[in-house]
């Protein structure tokens, strides 16, 4: 009962350079949604001053998109999508040089 989370576009830097992690659904909560996962991931960021590089106004900050099973979350229910076991969730930041 776990999902796989990947971090792309430099977001691994917020999570001790982990590019991939396995998250137990039960650790996120019952009927966990992508919105709950965003909250769960935010709590994992050790340096609190860096949270604003990940979240803003209750969702991921502008410039981050989420992919669930190789699909843009906009095609699903965004924050309301209910996670299922073996789901693959990718957080991607758009790449900019400056």
């Amino acid at each position: 009962m776990s999902i796989r989370v990947e971090l792309c576009g430099g977001l691994d830097l917020l999570f001790n350079k982990q590019k991939e992690l396995t998250v137990q659904l039960t650790d996120i909560g019952q009927n966990a949604t992508v919105g709950d996962l965003i909250q769960y991931m935010t709590n994992k960021i050790e340096d609190e001053s860096k949270c604003e590089l990940f979240v803003m106004d209750g969702s991921v900050r502008p410039g981050i998109i989420i992919l669930v099973n190789d699909q843009d979350w906009e095609l699903l229910d965004k924050e309301d999508y209910v996670l299922e076991t073996k789901d693959n969730v990718v957080f991607v930041s758009t790449l900019h040089d400056h």
Partner: protein
């Protein structure tokens, strides 16, 4: 249509013969390449390989836009410039390379950075636009100008060991503002500034950008027997396994301020209310585009 075409010279038949053999291209595809004009914004790490393969394939008219000069610190990834051309504007260095690779291609140089003032005039004479730049403001500017001018935008980026590739504003696909309605806050951009970049990473994404441009041209000219366009984002990390991820993305968004039905962006707004427009592009510095 597949008959002898007097506008094709002997050199062109010999030069393109091995790609015209492909049923997906053929003589009609080769003519489409020749009849199409493409403008490449940025002659850097992405623009170099993109220009190389667009030129080699026989695009009829290529525009190159860049305000920088060739510098030694770029040559680890900007592989059509050269040590002997240090100090030369990149657009002229790139033209020199392209014209010696394929003299059949007409090359037009724009030795300037893009801005709200010049972008509409630059892209007006081209069918397809390539975003080979590296900053958020320019990405919004190019996307908005392409939406307002009705041009497809083949957009790529590469930082460190990663790359991303998307085609914007084509058929039912999204524009850059559909994907990223709000600019990334400046603080987050800073976190990856001066992050470094590895040549073959940018290189491979630049060649893919040329490939997607050529596929898009074949599609434009050959509607019917091609697969329907599916908006897709290509993600690459050269040091992971698997390296590539192909992801289905949203289509055009009704809520989009640039391409949606109640969009409020216009060329006039962009040029006359430049400060307000710049803030829509993530500029907090007061810098001009």
């Amino acid at each position: 249509e597949e008959q002898f075409d007097p506008s094709f010279k002997l050199d062109e038949f010999s030069r393109y013969g091995r790609q015209m053999l492909l049923p997906e291209i053929g003589f009609s595809g080769q003519k489409a390449f020749k009849q199409t004009s493409v403008v490449v914004i940025g002659a850097g790490g992405l623009g170099c390989p993109a220009l190389q393969y667009l030129t080699a394939a026989g695009i009829g008219h290529i525009g190159i836009v860049d305000g920088d000069v060739v510098d030694s610190s770029n040559l680890h990834r900007q592989v059509i410039h050269s040590t002997s051309r240090k100090g030369l504007p990149k657009v002229y260095s790139a033209r020199q390379f392209c014209q010696d690779l394929n003299p059949n291609v007409k090359v037009t140089c724009f030795y300037e950075n893009v801005s709200v003032e010049n972008i509409f005039d630059i892209i007006r004479n081209f069918d397809v636009v390539l975003d080979c730049t590296d900053n958020q403001m320019t990405r919004y500017l190019l996307s908005d100008a392409c939406v307002l001018s009705g041009k497809p935008l083949v957009s790529a980026s590469a930082v460190q060991l990663e790359g991303q590739l998307l085609v914007y504003n084509f058929e039912n696909g999204p524009c850059y503002r559909c994907m990223f309605p709000q600019p990334t806050p400046a603080a987050s951009l800073m976190s990856c500034s001066s992050a470094g970049v590895f040549g073959p990473i940018v290189g491979v994404i630049g060649v893919m950008q040329a490939l997607e441009t050529l596929k898009l041209i074949l599609r434009i000219h050959k509607a019917g027997d091609v697969e329907p366009f599916q908006p897709t984002m290509l993600l690459f990390n050269g040091f992971r396994t698997p390296q590539w991820k192909s992801v289905r993305i949203r289509g055009r968004q009704a809520s989009c301020t640039a391409c949606g039905p109640s969009a409020r962006l216009s060329k006039e707004f962009m040029q006359k209310q430049a400060n307000e427009y710049l803030s829509m592009c993530g500029d907090n510095s007061g810098a001009t585009l």
